[in-house]
């Protein structure tokens, strides 16, 4: 209701519902500045529990096009952290443990191993945590390297750690598409959801139903079920003829750089001990054509607007 997120002063925008805002603020202070209590109060109110949609959308578009009066809820794209957590939750890979040391999620391997200059030298390579349980924790536990963002989170607008962020942005840009369609991280999640659906349901229609349920929180209708089944069947034929390359994690990499003090190029080897007994997530090459075909559908579900937006 405040005019803008971090400027309540004279130059800020005016609140939309000043009396309600004052009442909530006073109540908040009177009851000991407790946020959880405030959240409960808001969420249990009749207003909050109304439908987020408006029955007369076209009339509303004329009366209040910017929705200043909050007659309906503007859908919100999942934030970077929510997106990663939601993917892991849907696939059943999420380790919900609370607290503890920061973890190193698996990030794009090209970026992880990319040499990066720091004063006088090259920074050590990014090495993910060794086991899936260790690294597939909630994103709030992910270690943040200041000079090296996780490209997945970065592309979905995780704010950079050097500046305060008053409001998340969530515009749709093409690099997001590349990440969601083509990255190894997403390919692994698609395989994981496919394997889970196969574990939890027998026939193909049931597996599709389960995958949609896990991604969308609803089951597919008849039209969807029919079309998606045809697609997966077609992909079964495709994958029987197209074998993926196995993924190898290097245990050492050769670094070449221009020596800072002399301007001369040189090479050295950096060992990556974590990959000596690394437990990778299941890769496309390790599962059969049927699983890969269902994974194609899972990837599409994860790319779809219904998964990406909160209503």
């Amino acid at each position: 209701m405040a005019g803008n997120p971090n400027n309540f002063g004279a130059k800020g925008g005016k609140p939309t519902h000043p009396q309600l805002l004052d009442w909530l603020a006073a109540d908040f202070v009177e009851h000991g500045w407790r946020l959880k209590r405030l959240h409960r109060l808001i969420m249990k109110s009749d207003t909050y529990r109304q439908s987020g949609r408006h029955p007369q959308a076209s009339e509303l578009a004329v009366v209040d096009p910017e929705n200043h009066l909050f007659a309906y809820r503007i859908p919100r794209r999942l934030s970077a952290e929510e997106l990663r957590d939601s993917l892991l939750k849907a696939t059943g890979e999420l380790n919900p443990a609370i607290g503890g040391l920061p973890v190193m999620p698996e990030i794009n391997m090209e970026i992880a191993l990319q040499p990066r200059m720091i004063q006088f030298s090259i920074a050590p390579a990014y090495q993910p945590s060794r086991t899936p349980a260790e690294r597939n924790r909630r994103t709030i536990y992910a270690y943040r390297v200041r000079g090296q963002a996780d490209p997945f989170l970065e592309v979905f607008n995780q704010p950079n750690p050097n500046d305060s962020c008053e409001e998340r942005v969530s515009e749709s840009v093409t690099p997001q598409v590349f990440t969601l369609l083509n990255s190894d991280v997403m390919s692994d999640r698609a395989v994981a959801l496919s394997l889970r659906a196969e574990r939890e349901a027998k026939s193909l229609p049931e597996q599709i139903r389960r995958a949609v349920q896990l991604a969308y929180g609803r089951v597919p209708d008849k039209v969807e079920a029919e079309r998606l089944k045809k697609y997966v069947q077609k992909m079964r034929t495709y994958h029987a003829a197209h074998k993926p390359e196995p993924v190898k994690y290097p245990t050492a990499i050769t670094r070449s750089l221009v020596e800072e003090l002399t301007g001369q190029p040189f090479d050295y080897e950096e060992v990556l001990p974590v990959f000596e007994n690394y437990v990778p997530d299941k890769k496309p090459a390790e599962v059969n054509a049927k699983t890969r075909a269902l994974a194609d559908l899972c990837l599409i579900l994860f790319n779809s607007n219904e998964f990406m937006y909160v209503y």
Binding site: N4, G9, K11, G13, R53, H54, L60, E66, Y72, I74, R76, R77, N108, E110, Q114, P115, R116, M117, I118, Q119, I122, P151, N160, N162, D163, S164, R168, E171, S172, V173, T174, Q176, V177, F178, T179, L181, N182, S183, D184, V223, Y231, M235, H242, K243, P244, E245, S256, L257, V258, E260, L261, T262, G263, Q264, I300, N303, S304, N305, E306, Y309
Partner: protein, 461 residues
């Protein structure tokens, strides 16, 4: 709450006009029609419409490249009592190990290892008045690239694209190429900062996938992907049917189409196999020490030709603290041939007039050094008070020296300006007014120069 870019900007539109941000709202209005990356008319007549920035990371020495100081040769190895530098203890002056000669009709100074650059000397403007303010690499890099030493603000290329948009919607408007190793401070040097994500520099990688995850894994064919996109469209359309009030669904669907087109266009632009042998040779692609930079320079020309607004190439290793002679001669050799070819090529194609080429580091180097490891190390420290840079094309003076350093090259002495003035000048050449190119963030309108600056008129032709 309105968290989408579109709503946030709609909101700012109303807000900005109440504060008299006329140009600002104008930007938004234009954007609302054609999308944030679309071509926008400059604010005033522009001399340049694209920038190629050759960033020499580490800090090239002015004295050993383009700004010779005979006085230093006289003082060689005598004690220096200068203070305020990073180097501690006994310091001594360092004369340049290189000979210098006058080149071109205009008689520009160049040290002896520039073998090719003299051929385009009369296109160059050597600016000697810039002052960097920071003595550390990352802060100085951030300052030169983003206008702020803190490394959280939008990069030059991001501001430029915010201001004038891109003429090619199938390519990113701001492209960055690095060596194998990223420069200090990494991607914060080409960050969109508080500007929307579209304005972030896109790294075009010389090995592996040119843009991260541009292509599907090898076992998925183009036809496979087309079918997948068909299914995605099916699901998205059904979903959109259920949510007619949700404006952003269409934008997100459109981003998939743009991605598909980009996937098709990018490989064509970066595939240099179609370039004739004499061009590849001219850019130095056939020699080991220039092959990477040469390839990147040629790529830069092709990208600008296709409408990319801002191309940045990082080339490191200029931090010659100890072995100045070896270090700087090797670094000069690694860029000399390719950048000469780039300027010639742009000229020949009639592109130099409206393409601004800038060659610069993050700061300059000192006239003296300390006894590193107890010996007279012939090298130089970091210098925030003087540096040297080259510009060509884009409306800057040709065959000119602008500004001067003092007689030992320690401090900028004439036409001395901080980096923000350089930035303001650069925007000016592109038809943009720094005071009007603003974005509301953290409670105030922010601009590239932070709090305004001056156009360096002497640089402009």
């Amino acid at each position: 709450m309105n968290t989408t870019a579109l709503h946030r900007r709609d909101f700012l539109y109303g807000f900005g006009s109440s504060l008299g941000g006329l140009a600002f709202t104008d930007l938004l209005a234009r954007e609302a029609v054609a999308g944030p990356l679309a071509f926008k008319k400059p604010m005033h007549d522009a001399k340049a419409k694209a920038v190629i920035m050759l960033f020499m990371e580490g800090g090239p020495s002015q004295v050993d490249t383009f700004d010779p100081k005979p006085k230093l040769t006289e003082l060689h190895k005598t004690e220096s009592k200068r203070t305020g530098t990073l180097e501690q203890g006994f310091k001594f002056f360092v004369g340049s190990p290189f000979k210098t000669r006058k080149v071109g009709q205009s008689g520009l100074d160049m040290s002896e290892h520039w073998k090719h650059l003299p051929e385009v000397a009369d296109e160059l403007c050597n600016y000697r008045g810039c002052m960097a303010e920071s003595l550390n690499h990352p802060e100085a890099l951030f300052h030169m690239n983003t206008g702020s030493r803190l490394g959280a603000d939008p990069a030059l290329g991001a501001w430029v694209n915010y201001g004038i948009g891109s003429v090619n919607q199938n390519l990113p408007g701001y492209v960055v190429m690095t060596e194998l190793a990223l420069p200090q401070g990494g991607s914060r040097n080409w960050s969109n900062g508080f500007l929307p994500g579209q304005f972030q520099g896109t790294r075009l990688r010389s090995s592996g996938s040119p843009i991260l995850d541009l292509h599907a894994p090898a076992h998925k064919t183009l036809e496979h992907q087309r079918q997948a996109l068909g299914e995605l469209t099916f699901l998205n359309q059904r979903h959109a049917g259920k949510h007619p009030e949700h404006k952003n669904l269409a934008a997100r669907m459109a981003s998939y189409e743009l991605a598909y087109r980009m996937q098709a266009e990018v490989p064509g632009v970066i595939d240099l196999n179609g370039e004739p042998e004499h061009v590849r040779e001219a850019y130095g692609m056939n020699q080991k020490e220039t092959s990477v930079f040469g390839r990147q320079c040629l790529m830069a020309r092709r990208l600008v030709e296709k409408g990319v607004r801002f191309v940045q190439i990082f080339s490191g290793g200029w931090d010659s603290h100890d072995y100045l002679e070896r270090g700087h001669s090797a670094r000069i050799r690694s860029v000399d041939k390719s950048m000469t070819a780039l300027i010639k090529d742009l000229k020949q194609r009639g592109m130099l007039d409206d393409t601004l080429v800038i060659w610069t580091g993050e700061f300059g180097r000192t006239p003296d050094n300390n006894r590193r490891g107890g010996v007279y190390a012939i090298g130089r420290g970091h210098n925030a008070d003087a540096m040297t840079m080259l510009m060509a094309g884009g409306g800057v003076k040709r065959g000119a020296v602008v500004g001067a350093t003092d007689e030992i090259g320690a401090k900028a002495a004439e036409i001395a300006h901080p980096i923000r003035d350089l930035h303001v000048t650069l925007l000016h050449l592109l038809g943009l007014d720094d005071n009007k190119l603003t974005y509301f963030h953290a409670g105030r309108y922010k601009q590239l120069s932070q709090f305004g600056g001056k156009v360096i008129k002497e640089l402009i032709a």
